[in-house]
Symmetry: C2
Subunit: 332 residues, 2 copies
DNA sequence: GTGAAAGCGCTAACAT
DNA sequence: ATGTTAGCGCTTTCAC
């Protein structure tokens, strides 16, 4: 910057004014400065700017997701990015792989980088460690999973109701031996979907005794093996509820590899690419992850724009898409 | 930091030493400093550190991909992240949506942020604007697509050979009216795969007159419509080559919606989730995007570690997976 | 309309 | 083993 100033024959402050197009610069001075900038191929150093500037914005948002290669997370990321990009803000995404230790260290890294805010899908049961972060003034918006015991902004799907709706439809088709396949039960969405699953039994006055609930599945392969064992048992389920995208993929593999996809009902949480082309088509509860991301980012910017807002829980509706696999009747 | 120093009764530099655990600090002094750090919930400001420190590393890598919600890009991102994370480096991913203007402005943003290096899948035909970036000393590794006219590191698949192999297998099964569906022909991978497609005809001594080549498809929907029009024409193709993951998805929809999936052969570039569960299974050329990301990141760190390396083109092999759709014979 | 001085929070270089 | 001074590249403040 000093070089640019020297070449243009002005002071450093004038270069700064030109770059940030502040008013009160003579047009011809500005032109000379631009010439020098081009001649020297100069680009401001944002680190220095954000260090000195009041407010100290880094124009960067942190995003914590399960994994950047999970399609659900990819869509969320896209939604956040679309909104952030329009404001010249970049997104630093980090994969947690459902590890609370990584979560904590990622948040600390974000603090050291002085990011403007954090959008996170927490994997921890106890997020109390975040309260100090909040106090430090770093805005946070939770996405997909609402934390327990912290009054904060959250943008989620209507997990419990959607799971209840799907389960109700299975029960109405005569299913009782329904297998619920979920992630760790400490993951909020997993617990809520399970709760919805139970709700449907309760409403219908059907005992849950014949249902099987499996938690702790963290990959398609694990889900495939878990369901495979059930299917090969004496009392295989007549219907399956896939608690999340990867789990449903695993369940599909277990069913298809046994040729059971037309006999055993399946409903999955999250839509899947090509789900409509399988035979039978896969019935799903479709979330709108991109919208979750967009809404969370918008909320974040409302806060950053200085709104003093009470914490809010925003719910993005899901869609129940019947394609065939969920409409298979229980054998009588 | 000053507050921490005051509370611990030491100078600022000592706090700095403790944080960066430099040697020559008395254990008990360090303990006092740590106590103060915890008491004040202090976290260093990386911006200031990287501004002052020799070398000025920001511990951040830039990643330019087609779109963060594309599964291929997600896998690449994951590969880069895995390697970067092990070194405490974060990844700033930006979606280009195949727009050269965005590419240029994203690179400029990366320069302003003083990122340590850029891993990019370029969408531009002319990357000469990057030569000044290189001169500024920002290391770059190209991934997936090798740029023309710039001698740089690149990590790609063996696009041409893989496409030739697949096309050869279609020709051997009697197909002549093969439809090649690709992205814009200015995208390097698209051009290379097309070249491989032509190579196979050449080797076999088969004229390409009956083949149809369509470029410029940029979404599954566009691919579906383009193939749909071909299928509904007088001379529909007997086989289809899907030039990329989204295109293959669109092609599958076009075929299945017409019930033609068992009559018309299909081979896709890129594997798809659930491709093995469709009927027929989808034959694909599987790239290893995560490995592309890992290798590119490793190359990047070799440069950052000070290696003075000649630009290299690293090729990650693909795998031809026959699942049924590609083995359909041409009608005689 | 422009520039000089001070300082953002940290670390390099040199004390001691 | 620790502290002091200077300065990274910018923007704020204030003077002209």
């Amino acid at each position: 910057m000093k070089q640019v100033a020297a070449l243009a024959g002005v002071g450093a402050k004038t270069v700064s004014r030109v770059i940030n197009d502040e008013p009160r610069v003579a047009p011809e001075t500005a032109a000379r400065v631009w010439d020098a900038i081009r001649a020297l191929d100069y680009h401001v150093d944002m680190r220095a700017g954000s260090l000195r500037r009041a407010g100290g914005r880094t124009l960067t948002l942190g995003l914590l997701v399960s994994s950047v290669d999970n399609p659900f997370a990819g869509e969320v990321h896209r939604g956040v990015e679309d909104v952030a990009r329009a404001r010249g803000v970049a997104v630093l995404a980090v994969s947690l792989h459902e590890d609370p230790v990584r979560e904590k260290s990622a948040v600390e890294d974000f603090i050291r980088r002085r990011l403007d805010g954090i959008i996170l899908s927490t994997t921890s049961t106890d997020v109390s460690y975040l309260s100090t972060t909040l106090i430090r003034g770093m805005p946070m918006v939770f996405i997909d999973r609402r934390p327990l015991g912290l009054s904060v902004d959250a943008v989620t799907s209507d997990n419990r109701e959607a799971a209840a709706l799907a389960t109700r439809s299975l029960i109405a088709r005569g299913h009782r031996r329904i297998a619920f396949l979920g992630e760790r039960s400490t993951i909020r969405t997993s617990a809520e979907r399970h709760q919805g699953f139970l709700d449907a039994f309760g409403e219908a006055g059907v005992p849950t005794g014949e249902a099987t609930v499996i938690f702790g599945l963290s990959s398609a392969r694990e889900a495939q093996e878990a369901l495979g064992a059930l299917l090969d048992s004496d009392q295989p389920p007549t219907a399956v509820f896939g608690g999340q995208n990867l789990i449903t993929v695993g369940a599909l593999h277990a069913l298809h590899s046994r040729g059971m996809q037309h006999r055993i009902a399946l409903i999955g949480f999250d839509d899947l690419e090509l789900a409509d082309l399988l035979d039978p088509g896969v019935t799903v509860i479709r979330q709108d992850p991109r919208k979750l991301g967009r809404v969370a980012a918008e909320r974040m910017f409302s806060r950053l724009d200085g709104g003093v807002l009470a914490p809010e829980h925003i719910i993005v509706p899901t869609e129940f898409i019947e394609r065939g696999s969920g409409e298979i009747l229980a054998p009588r």
